[in-house]
Amino acid sequence: MRAPTLMAVVLAAILVVTVPAAQTGPAVEITFTSTQFSPVHETEWARDTLFRAFETETGIRVRFVSELAGPYMDRLQAEARVGRGSIDLTGTLHGDFPILVPAGVARDMAPVQADLARRGDRTFFPDLVRISQVGGIQAYVPWMQATYVIVAHKRAMAYFPRGSNPMAMTYDDLLEWGDAIKSATGTRRIGFPAGPGGLFGRFLHGYIYPSFTGSQVKRFKSPEAVEMWRYLRRLGGVLHPGSFLYSFMHEPLLLGEVWVAWDHTARLLPALRDRPDDFVVLPSPAGPRGRSFLSVIVGLTIPKTAPNAEAAARLIEFLTRPRTQVLTVQGVAFFPTVREAAGAVPTGGMKLLAEAVTAQQGARDARVALLPVGLGVRTGEFVPLYVDTFREISVLGKPIEEVLAAQARKLEELYRAMNAVCPPPDPAITPCRPD
């Protein structure tokens, strides 16, 4: 009795597995993997809005797969190693390409970029095209960009330092603000995503370091840097203690635990979308050496093993079209990479975000910092160096000069070993070296 039942179950299971595979989809279908659009609401938006529009126009169906960074990179490398793949197009952060290019995953996108340029309907920001050159090829077509800003609850604005302009805030204003909230309410309400998976490391190397020292690497242990670390210790006194647990700041903002939060635009958007009337969005602060901010770039590339490179190129054309870029900023708060889309006016929570981003980019003291390039397979060691420095100085309370000297040696070794150039705003020295 039992054996036939088991057999039936196994047979039924085999049928269920094999039958869907036998059904065929539309004529042309491409597979697009990405580390972006991973929260479930973003994935659904991409499928229902973005790719559906593409399918209607071209008849090409997009099978979009959003993945964790680990399996994502492993899969691309495995397909490259076999020389046979199923992924037609892939989109990820600039920082992943120094690994993908030497692994033989990405093909040179210069011909695709040239085709797009010939259409004459879109102008890519030149600095984005410049940094998309990785390992001697154009590793990707710039797709979207993001940055980091401050979102504050409206009730926190009552404590903002009098006489200062929130849209042009300084790091001193931020500290004073936190102090005022603390003395008025007895609670610490400024939050940073310094928890696991949080992007606090970006704040250290791309925001506060260049704002205080004018550089990310070169002035790592300069007297200005020592001054900056003293400031961070003082700021620590007004930070919400939960900061060491936060990964995404929209959550404590919505819960009301934190009133003032700094994070990636996409990681703040859910708060703004849910309650646009409760929050204001402010540019990142300025230090003695300007208002530094990072530009996060997401690029598209066609793997060498892509089964249908031609259809993938058509999707790239669609995704970088000005109209699609406006759709993208509205949908998921990733900003355009082409000039023609930058002027479009978004609405609601997105409008607040766009205004702050514009204020940040257009500020007189603006200073663009770019992610480090040329560190190759050791790219992943860069940010932890800064986070470790923070832990030793601000959390463990070790002497600033000593820690900076030790960490600067590691930074120097990293840059010398990879013979990499300093990331802007540092001068283009190779290999980069802390003074």
Partner: protein, 271 residues
């Protein structure tokens, strides 16, 4: 008196253990039916007022969730079939026979658990693409079987040790062959133990993310589909609770089904 006190103590401990398992499940279930506004309000209410199906419905409609649930079930069933088919004979052999290298074999089985699967990611994917097993549910089930086998062997070994050899010998004196004695006498007695091994294998396969994520692209299992979208990507709280709820319910149903075997035959095993 002492007997009543003992019963009371036992009941208290049992209640505590049950609460330890059930309380989080209860909280997740309640939160899955709460509105997002309620989840983000402070102080947080425990009971949803009014209960809402919005997030759950969003999940049910999200692309791939149904297929992924089905995929997870298929992979789990394949894994149970393979793990029991391979693990039970191995367990039987270990419990019945003394053969050279028996201890080494037992240790070797456990040693496979010492490999961190992460370092195998790229080679495994490369091999699977070459063999044509890539993005195939059977392929995932094979890896899950490899992960579950050590436990299946260890559990079935102790199960068969509990089945008296004399019963099989008696069956053979009455005309059964060795195989018949195993199938008609040892196996039915061992069934509750095998059910326990099956539950263990099911839970392992149902929760496994790593191999499922790297070895599939379109044919995702539920955890591979949800882990990124819900847990790591910082989805809003309502999605996380709904996702958790969605992971729990099918697993509970399956375990309840297998559990019937465990309960009806329990008396036989305890003896």
């Amino acid at each position: 008196m002492a007997r009543a006190a003992r019963t009371a103590l036992l009941a208290t401990i049992a209640t505590l253990i049950a609460a330890w398992v059930l309380f989080p499940i209860l909280l997740i279930s309640l939160a899955a039916f709460s509105s997002r506004a309620q989840l983000y309000s402070w102080p947080r209410a425990i009971f949803p007022t009014p209960p809402t199906m919005d997030t759950i419905l969003f999940f049910l409609r999200a692309q791939g969730v149904w297929q992924a649930t089905l995929n997870s079930l298929i992979v789990a069933l394949f894994t149970i079939a393979l793990a029991v088919a391979i693990g039970a004979p191995a367990g039987y052999a270990l419990s019945r026979f003394r053969f050279p290298g028996r201890e080494g074999f037992r240790l070797g089985i456990l040693a496979t658990k010492m490999f961190p699967a992460t370092v195998l990611a790229i080679p495994l994917a490369v091999a699977y693409i070459r063999w044509g097993l890539y993005d195939n549910l059977l392929g995932v089930a094979i890896v899950h079987t490899a992960l579950a086998l050590p436990f299946a062997v260890v559990i079935t070994t102790s199960v068969f040790i509990g089945v008296p050899m004399e019963l099989e010998e008696a069956a053979m004196t009455l005309g059964c062959t060795r195989l018949q004695a195993f199938l008609r006498v040892a196996l039915p007695i061992a069934l509750p133990g095998l059910a326990a091994a099956a539950i263990f294998t099911f839970v392992l396969s149902w929760n496994e993310v790593f191999a499922a994520a790297i070895l599939t692209l379109h044919n995702r299992t539920l955890p591979a589909l949800l882990i990124n979208a819900v847990a790591f990507a910082g989805a809003p709280l309502d999605y996380r609770f709904a996702g958790g709820f969605f992971m729990i319910v099918p697993a509970m149903i399956i375990i309840f089904i297998i559990r019937r075997y465990l309960m009806t035959l329990w008396g036989v095993t305890i003896r």
